[in-house]
Symmetry: C2
Subunit: 334 residues, 2 copies
């Protein structure tokens, strides 16, 4: 596949201008490109694909960290403290969000920028609320693409925030290098996370607000460690550590980042870091293909006219799901 | 949709003979039809669809009960004791299995009929091991169809057994009316089930082998009840009960079946029983469509020749998943 030709073939002057602006790290170009990526208009999507293809060689030199936690776990404060610490250390930080509920509720995590009032004033930070394009899959696709744009713009750390809505944690875990579960030190929160299978996909577990009740935090940490020993690790080389921090009091942040760095070093040494990214990219392609196939199927004229009645027949037990599916699929011809 | 014409159009003499045999409740026809359904040969599949379509009007007058539990929970003994009790009560019972691991391990739950030595000698029972056709989806599709065949053959109760392999519990819960989680009264087992989100999809939770340590069983029951109050019920009209039984000592089986009957009555009264079956049938159709679409896509000549290279380009970061997906999808024409 000759990438240059794909990029060169369709890159208009406007698109090239966007590409150049992003690569130069211009904020305005960055924001405009993400807006283009998030647009649902067909012509915008075509341009977005071309811009992304041109930016792609400049992506990937970051660490992508997913941060999940129920409302009240202190995600904003944690991300703000972490972001300011990373900026002190000379890094540039982009914060994105996946919140499929934002299109329903109107509100959105990160929507209210005052939630990270210090971080959002910094030149070295870029904060973008969740796109509100409906389904979790759609929201996540946009965020993945925004992540690539931020990487091309030279950010060193990408933080993807999510709330515990439906499958959003699993989706975010599938797009980042390290997935962090932020918890409050109380048992109900633990059970929720264990129950939902989130602990299983976490690369790090962090108990926030540990300063409020140090004993409760230590206890929660012990409980979680015990629970983790019963679960199988995703990697033979990494057992998820459990930390206690207090984002508000700025305690434990240095140790947290040291663990993220240790994670990167360990996984890079074993080859799993790159392997995970490769797998994530191919999985993402297949997700897009699957939803494209559904669209293609539903928009097929013969399917469209037969589907409602056949679907009703299946629901009412007048035909079998197998017979209905094979009838509908028979409309497709190569 | 004129069902008679579909059925009549393709029903050969052999197929009609199978249909008549199944409807007459002949064991040999039943077994042969399920073998036809399980075959992966294309012509067999076509015949199977026609036979199933002809049988469909005679299905559905049963209760479908899923029984899940880790190895050692005592599923076979529980099902045998339950089956014999139901036969005493004048019912005919079919036992099927969904075990996606059977194709890997060679072994299979229910494969060893001596595991239910009394039940399998009874005329009123029909026991069929898990089909071993590879993926969970494939195995489950065959079991669903076998279930319809058993229903047409006049069985009153269909029991679908599964082990906790991957997503098999969720899949079985999606094909039965009532999903039962069989547990041992120890905390590790509890945590596993809570962790995997199985408790959430259970309509009944049963602690087996309660006679071994009655105190432990009572304690486990209390713990589970407490955990259940924290989870949201699938139905506003049904809070999953937690029972203790001893299948070996034949204790608690009457009470268990009374709960299943109460479940059916409650859900039928609220309309949820029929609604759930309708939804399951339509979901099943869409699963078949999705896998058919993937097959259609992968067998498209242009896709087949472009896929390996594009997939490699995505993995190596030479092209974006979005660009690759849209290129491949562009090969499909209506």
């Amino acid at each position: 596949m000759d990438m240059t030709s794909i990029a060169a073939a369709g890159l208009s002057a406007t698109d090239q201008h966007l590409v150049d602006g992003v690569l130069a790290g211009r904020r305005r170009s960055l924001a405009k490109t993400i807006t283009l990526v998030e647009s649902t208009r067909h012509d915008h999507q075509r341009h977005a694909r071309q811009v992304l293809t041109a930016l792609l060689p400049h992506t990937g030199r970051t660490i992508r960290v997913g941060i999940s936690g129920a409302p009240g776990a202190g995600k904003s404060t944690f991300i703000e403290t972490l972001g300011l610490y990373l900026i002190e250390a000379g890094k540039r930080v982009a914060v994105l969000a996946v919140d499929p509920s934002s299109s329903v509720s109107g509100g959105s995590i990160l929507g209210d920028k005052t939630r990270m009032e210090f971080l959002c004033q910094r030149e070295e930070a870029f904060i973008r609320p969740s796109p509100s394009s409906g389904s979790l899959g759609g929201v996540a696709d946009k965020t993945r693409e925004a992540m690539l744009v931020c990487e091309a713009a030279g950010f060193d750390v990408i933080i993807v925030e999510t709330v515990g809505v439906g499958q959003s944690e699993t989706t975010v875990a599938g797009m980042v290098d390290a997935f962090v579960l932020l918890q409050l030190p109380n048992a109900g929160d633990d059970l929720q996370a264990i129950k939902k299978g989130i602990v299983e996909i976490a690369d790090l577990v962090v108990f926030n607000k540990a300063d409020i009740d140090e004993r409760a935090a230590a206890f929660a940490r012990g409980q979680m460690k015990a629970a983790l020993t019963m679960l199988r690790s995703a990697s033979p080389n990494w057992r998820p550590p459990v930390l206690t921090v207090s984002a508000l009091a700025k305690r434990g942040i240095v140790e947290f980042w040291a663990e993220i760095e240790r994670y990167r070093t360990t996984m890079t040494a074993s080859g799993e870091f790159e392997e995970k990214r490769r797998r994530q990219a191919v999985d993402w392609m297949w997700n897009l293909i699957d939803s494209g196939l559904r669209q293609y199927f539903r928009s097929h004229p013969a399917v469209r006219s037969a589907l409602p009645e056949l679907s009703g027949d299946v629901a009412e037990g007048r035909t079998t799901p197998g017979a209905a599916a094979s009838r509908l699929l028979a409309f497709l011809k190569h």
